[in-house]
Amino acid sequence: MGKRQSRDRIELVYGSLDMLILRTLRWGPTHGHGIAKSIERLSEETLKVEHGSLYPALQRLQQEGWITAQWGVSKNKQRAKYYRLTAAGRKQLVAETSRWERFVRAVTGVLRPAEE
């Protein structure tokens, strides 16, 4: 990965990582590596996620009861821990997403008032 490429990446806004993880898990249980990859993939490599920073977040989400974890076997026959969204997590995701959308609309409104 070159230097230019990494400059194009955007640091995550504080707190938004939780939402991204929850969103990723909407399509089914995934392990930590899978979560990291799908965030990168879906943001078209724009969002920079240091893989290590996923783990404290995962622990926190577990603590809150929004996700649960279970060891399983990956496609490559490797042992991996799979995270699954709970009902509470789903609710949390809806709440966070709508809050995020309001935030984005507000910021967009400030940045481009004339375009309406």
Binding site: G52, Y55, P56, L58, Q59, Q63, G65, N76, Q78, R79
Partner: protein, 919 residues
């Protein structure tokens, strides 16, 4: 929701190891996957590995951050502190042992005394909702019935009347307290019988079969826990009663109010009188309705009493009103205020012991924290906050306190057994003293308190800016003047505190010991050695003249010479005359025994009090009671009380009471009740001039007539109620009426009185095989028993005093000698600069003297404030007794001086060069 999360975090603490491994696994698996992908995109294995690591970021940081999410950081830090503290304490086993032992003594003593308070005082009675129970004594039955009808304060009420009775049919004839109870009594108290049934409404109807419920103790002692006791017949006061039930253990015990200590409960059969007739008084027990307070109930009772008095002015004299004082029977009403005060004093004394133990350990910790300067300085340099260091020190004191508390629990178990052994006889509920939940909570509480007290001083000391401020300061300037002075001041304060506490505890113990010594050497007015007393109650058979001396006491005592003769005798002999004959036979028989010097009879035994005439009217008292002296106007008894006692000739000689004037009674007096002998105090107080041949009476009837008694003799004063009675009260003696079927026999022997007991018993049984002989005691024993309570309190308070003294010696010596060792360097410098050893010794002693002086002054002010609570326990000694205070001060000053002198002397002997090199 939030508590759930906290709970999960708490759970995390215990699964920590497993979860850490789990997280490591997960991260490893993540890295493997990333590596795999990198390999697949064509990297070399090495490149793939490092790229994966780069992508991941700081692995350790991720692990740490993740772990932080799990738990309470502060709690983890505490665990870490505790682990560290444990290592520290393990490194100083000597220090740890002394500290733990000191705290264990303090906590153990407190736990033991608290368990006594808990068992005797706090533990609820076995009665249902006992805290709502109230009781009142000495009320005329019509008034109780009026209360029952009119009062709205009570849920339920039961009447009981306490008596004493003679029970035959058990192992031996026995006298016991019994209560006549209404049918509400057992349902009200809500305790089911162990066997059989309680008294039911049918039982209290007049004319029903005679039934009785017996106590657990009577069942055990007299009926050998016979499982078929229900239905058995026993003789109560010579009437056959059927046992219908046995109450469980604890039902009869532990209360000072009416139902307590009864051996039997019988139905209270009462037919209401036609008019307001006061008759004998009774008591009631009732449960307050929900929301009704004791004072509200009291007000209601007073109103009812006032109404009755207005309605029946003649039958209901003013003096009676308000006599039946209502008290709580549940929790606090069952131990008398004296016992409660004594328990509180003990608790206070033992609290001081704990305080001293804490000061001791705290001063040891402060001394040690000085040597730990270097360690603390390093920890500070490595970034430990001051708070963290304080927490570290506090966690060490917590460890010490918890270990001390645990060991203290073992000590207290031992202490409780000791308490039960030395407790005065008949202390209620002494078997309830044990380590239960309440006591364990208490122990936990004082353990935490001790942890704070012990940790506070060192923590304050360590967190002060100077100490361990900088690494250089801690390492190089360990003996820098300012720090040294500050630490020194701290220790001085602890010494002063220690001395002050010691003064208080030791003074309390010394006062008790001195008072007890006075009590033991008091002149009771009798010669107590070689005197045997026993209570004898004759059977009806003997008093009816049907019991005759037989050659063989084992044969039936009832052996009429012939039926005709018996019938003849029966006509002639009234019960009184029969009793008189039997009594005379018994006294004659005893006098003829070898080893007996004198024998006499009395209505009441010595030191058990007599019939009391008081200046206060009480229900049932004949009207006009008081003291009237011929030739003087009106009632002379305006305050206090006088005691009357009936005695046979020889009573004074048997007890060694001196006849000061006049003569003793003679046999002929026994049939005339118009003579009396008075005590010296009586004569001095009430009879002016020569008392002989003066006449007095103790009652005046409505017409102003008296039954005058002529004074024929004067004897010395006797402490008649109990040894610790402060001054002997006025007393008079009347001739013993031989026709009574019971009395106290008093025998003076020339040998050990207990040896003759058997022979005396044989004499009594010879005359009356069914006589109840109880309370066989020597007078020495009675005196010892009457002093048992002060003795118990003295033993405890004096041993706390001794323990306090020991702690003070150890504590003061520890701190002072430690600071002397600290000053070895300084002393070396002084000597090197030419100071004389004597000068240095004087300097050290002067400092010791100053500390002792301040400590003792503070301690004496504290003791003066506190010892007044001892007043009621002290005998002929004031709580501010100067010799005690002076003695304690002198001894403690000597202790402080010695504690300063010995280490100082050792320090001056050290070679100055060695001393200078000392660190």
């Amino acid at each position: 929701m939030s508590w759930k999360r906290q709970f999960a975090k708490l759970g995390n603490l215990f699964t920590r190891g497993r979860r850490t491994a789990d997280l490591d696994d997960e991260i490893r698996s993540h890295l493997r996957m990333e590596e795999q992908e990198n390999l697949e995109s064509g990297m070399t294995p090495e490149e793939a590995h490092y790229a994966a690591l780069r992508r991941f970021g700081n692995v350790t940081l991720a692990q740490e951050r993740s772990r932080e999410m799990w738990g309470w950081n502060s709690l983890e830090a505490l665990l870490q502190d505790l682990r560290y503290g444990l290592r520290q304490l393990g490194r100083n086993p000597g220090f740890t042992a002394v500290a733990v032992l000191t705290l264990a003594l303090g906590i153990g003593a407190n736990t033991a005394i608290f368990s006594a308070v808990n068992g005797i005082w706090l533990e609820p009675l076995i009665y249902a909702r006992s805290s709502r129970l109230v009781t009142a004594d000495l009320l005329p039955i019509p008034e109780i019935q009026a209360i029952q009808k009119q009062s709205t304060a009570f849920e339920r009420m039961a009447i009981y009347q306490k008596h004493s009775c003679l029970v035959l049919g058990g192992a031996v004839p026995v006298r016991t307290a019994n209560s006549y109870v209404s049918d509400d009594f057992f349902p009200l108290l809500g305790v089911k019988p162990l066997l059989g049934r309680p008294i039911l409404p049918g039982d209290t109807q007049p004319g029903n079969a005679l039934v009785a419920v017996i106590s657990y103790r009577l069942w055990m002692d007299e009926f050998g826990d016979d499982p078929h006791i229900v239905g058995r017949s026993v003789s109560v006061d010579h009437k056959p009663f059927t046992v219908i039930g046995v109450m469980p253990k604890g039902f009869d015990l532990g209360v000072t109010w009416g139902g307590g200590n009864s051996g039997l409960w019988m139905p209270f059969v009462y037919s209401p009188p036609d008019s307001m007739n006061l008759g004998p008084t009774s008591s009631f027990v009732a449960r307050l309705k929900k929301g009704v307070t004791l004072s509200q109930a009291k007000a209601q009772l007073e109103a009812i009493s006032a109404r009755l008095a207005a309605e029946y002015p003649n039958q209901y004299p003013k003096a009676l009103r308000g006599y039946g004082r209502i008290v709580t029977a549940g929790v606090s009403g069952r131990t008398d205020p004296g016992v409660r005060l004594a328990l509180l004093i003990l608790l206070g004394a033992v609290g001081f012991i704990l305080l001293m133990a804490c000061v001791n350990v705290a001063s040891l910790l402060v001394a040690r924290s000085w040597t730990r300067q270097r360690e603390l300085a390093i920890r500070k340099a490595l970034g430990a906050s001051r708070l963290r260091i304080v927490r570290q020190l506090l966690s060490e004191s917590l460890l010490l306190a918890v270990s001390g508390g645990t060991l203290g629990l073992f000590f207290s178990a031992w202490g409780i057994r000791l308490l039960q052994v030395i407790a005065p006889p008949y202390t209620p509920r002494v078997d309830h003293i044990r380590l239960d939940g309440n006591v364990l909570w208490f122990t936990m509480g004082i353990t935490l308190l001790a942890a704070v007290l012990v940790g506070l001083a060192p923590a304050m000391h360590a967190s002060s800016r100077r100490v361990g401020g900088t690494l250089e300061g801690g390492l190089v300037g360990a003996f820098a003047g300012a720090e040294m002075r500050q630490s020194h001041r701290f220790r001085s304060a602890l010494v002063i505190l220690e001395v002050a506490l010691a003064v208080i505890v030791v003074t309390g113990g010394a006062l008790m010991a001195r008072s007890f010594y006075k009590l033991m050497s008091v002149n009771t007015g009798v010669r107590a050695d070689h005197v045997l007393t026993m209570h004898v109650q004759l059977s009806d058979l003997a008093c009816n003249g049907l019991s005759f001396p037989t050659r063989n006491p084992k044969e039936s005592a009832v052996r009429p010479r012939s039926t005709a003769q018996a019938n003849q005798l029966q006509k002639q002999i009234t019960p009184a005359a029969g009793c008189a004959l039997a009594n005379e036979d018994i006294l004659d028989g005893i006098r003829s025994l070898a080893g007996v010097q004198r024998a006499a009879c009395a209505g009441m035994g010595p030191l058990q009090g007599g019939v009391v005439t008081t200046s206060v009217r009480y229900p049932g008292a004949p009207s006009g009671m008081g003291l009237y002296v011929e030739g003087q106007q009106g009632n002379q008894l305006t305050s206090g009380a006088i005691e009357g006692r009936s005695v046979t000739p020889g009573f004074f000689a048997a007890l060694g009471i001196r006849l000061l004037k006049g003569r003793d009674f003679v046999l002929a007096d026994l049939n005339h009740s118009d003579v009396a002998i008075v005590s010296e105090g009586f004569a001095r107080k009430y009879i002016p001039g020569n008392p002989l041949r003066k006449r007095f009476s103790i009652a005046e009837d409505e017409k102003g007539h008296h039954r005058w008694m002529e004074i024929v003799g004067v004897v010395n004063d006797v402490r008649d109620r109990a040894v610790h009675e402060s001054t002997p009260g006025p007393a008079y003696y009347t001739p013993f009426f031989f026709g009574d079927n019971w009395g106290e026999i008093i025998v003076r022997t020339s040998t050990n009185p207990m040896v003759i007991v058997h022979a005396i018993e044989r004499v009594v049984r010879f005359v009356d095989a069914d006589a109840a002989i109880t309370h066989i005691e020597t007078l020495d024993q009675i005196i010892a028993d009457s002093a048992a309570e002060p003795k118990f309190q003295t033993v405890l308070l004096a041993s706390f005093g001794a323990l306090g003294f020991l702690l003070a010696v150890i504590g003061v010596y520890g701190v002072v000698s430690y600071s002397a060792v600290q000053r070895t360097h300084e002393i070396g410098v002084r000597i090197a600069l030419g100071a004389k050893r004597g000068d240095i010794l004087r300097m050290v002693l002067r400092e010791g003297m100053l500390l002792a002086g301040i400590g003792i002054t503070a301690g004496i002010s504290g003791a003066l404030a506190l010892t007044r609570f001892l007043r009621s326990l002290l005998f002929e000694i004031t709580p501010t007794d100067p010799p005690t205070f002076i003695g304690v001060s002198v001894i403690l000053t000597a202790v402080v001086l010695l504690a300063s002198y010995i280490p100082a002397r050792r320090a001056t002997k050290v070679d100055p060069m060695v001393a200078l090199r000392h660190e």
